[in-house]
Amino acid sequence: MVQGADAQTAKQILSETGAPVVMFDHVRLAFDENVVLADLSFTLIKGHTKIILGASGSGKSTALKIITGLWKADSGVVWVNGERVDQLTEREMMSVRADLGLIFQEGALFDSLTVRENVGYKLYEETDMALDAVDKRVEEVLGFIGLIEYIEKMPSELSGGQRRRVAIARAMAFKPSILLYDEATTGLDPITATTVDDEIIKLRDLEGVSSIVVTHQLRDAFYIATHMAERGADGKVRIMAASADKAEEAEFIMLKDGLICFEGTAEQLRRSTDPYLKTFLS
């Protein structure tokens, strides 16, 4: 782990605008003969969004699992918030995960816990925060995603879209600076998917969360990249078309066979003449 003066320097660099919060450098992972990531390098800038596209099995979710330390890369270097996570033990990873939220494909809510207990899980179980303060924070995040009336329900009583939103609430409850979304809208109808997309945009633009969005839903990917959230004078949050500068902050990566076959903005992706990209976009 980075300690002492190095930790101070890393903290100072990370506090600056434009600091790299996640960095992949020639990462490779294979299971026997099956190469999942052949050579993956990219950087996520603080407060920006990285959208990873690709067909099923292209290694998108694997990248997120490597960032959170759930899986270890065979080779390459992975930096998360100034820590080389590829060298950390499971125990050391716990401090890195304290500033990292992961939203799983199907939500992965704990079946035996209520929405309140799910959302406040980390605060209830892994911190010394007072119960009143945890309850307040849980109600605050559930209010933010518009599910406060479901606070005492069990996950089995929620719809697919509500489960994903509760999963987002659980990941944001402990105020991480990086959120990783693993197919957060897959399997949802377009209207419900848009509500989830709006949450992702709100967290990025109102809470300053850096995010990596893994998806193969192009509609959602472009929506997140081309929209922004703003709080009006009346306190209400509005989702609107992103300004040119804001749109530049969302960068697309297209994975194919464990390699990056495209990297650029939404506009550059639309204009690409690459046959594979055109097939994917059509």
Binding site: K65, L70, F104, E106, A108, L109, Y121, K122, E126, R170
Partner: protein
């Protein structure tokens, strides 16, 4: 053919290695913080109190059947009055610990494997890790502690209720006088019998739960995999109990007698 054997052996060695690793990790976690106390209490309730009915029913009927069968055999030697001695010795030394352990394998072994297996295939275990919780500490340790300490207690309950079941048959079917039966029960027991009946359940409880946790946490293949894990946990747990019974009995006989 050779390749298949080679693959099977490697797979078996890997399973043993992972089982030992999980067991050592769980034991290590028992003695280091944090301890999820409310999960420990919950598991003592689920595994201990929740298994009481099945243990009472299996104990009482085993004791009753034993008295019935034993009575018929003892009749051939005119020794029907000592049926209590046969019931108590059998229940405390062998049937109580083994049958309780087998019942618990069916009830809690399958439950643990299914619960943890479901959590694995729905990414809940990864979610726990991502939220900074060690799944061994949170899920395995409370179950191991509950299995280790509650199995002996449930065995004692099974022993007593089995002897009671034997008395019902001895008194009302075999027409053995109650006083004679209870005197025979106490006369047939020695301290080393009690030790044997008490030590074995600790080993069985530990085995049942650690095997179920190991199988559950290594579940793959979606919901079909959960079903398979449940079956494997019960089969492996039952075989482990019976095999351990032989080895522990042998060890205790050499130490106590």
């Amino acid at each position: 053919m050779l390749q298949a054997i080679d693959r099977w052996l490697k797979q078996a060695a890997l399973e043993v290695q992972e089982y030992v690793r999980l067991t050592l990790a769980a034991v290590g976690c028992v003695f280091t913080p944090p301890v999820y106390a409310h999960d420990v209490v919950e598991q003592f309730d689920v595994i201990g109190v929740g298994s009481l009915t099945v243990v009472l029913l299996s104990g009482v009927f085993t004791g009753a059947a034993l008295a019935m069968q034993g009575g018929l055999t003892l009749d051939q030697f005119g020794a029907r009055p000592v049926v209590g001695r046969l019931v108590s010795a059998s229940m405390i030394k062998e049937l109580g610990p083994v049958l309780t352990a087998l019942m618990l394998t069916g009830r809690i072994g399958s439950g643990i494997a299914a619960e943890l297996g479901s959590m694995v295939v729905t990414d809940q275990i990864n979610a726990l890790r991502a939220l900074g919780t060690d799944p061994v500490r949170k899920l395995v340790v409370p179950r191991v502690l509950a299995g280790f300490f509650m199995t002996p207690i449930l065995t004692i309950v099974a022993d007593f209720i089995g002897i009671f079941g034997g008395w019902v048959v001895a008194r009302f079917t075999l027409q053995v006088n109650s006083g004679v039966y209870w005197l025979s029960v106490t006369e047939g027991l020695y301290m080393h019998d009690a030790w044997m009946g008490l030590i074995k359940p600790f080993v069985f409880g530990f085995l049942i739960v650690t095997i179920a946790c190991h199988v559950g946490l290594r579940t793959t293949g979606g919901t079909a995999g959960v079903g398979k894990s449940t079956t494997v946990a019960v089969v492996a747990g039952s075989v482990a109990v019976i095999a351990a019974d032989f080895f522990v009995t042998q060890l205790l006989v050499s130490l106590l007698f």
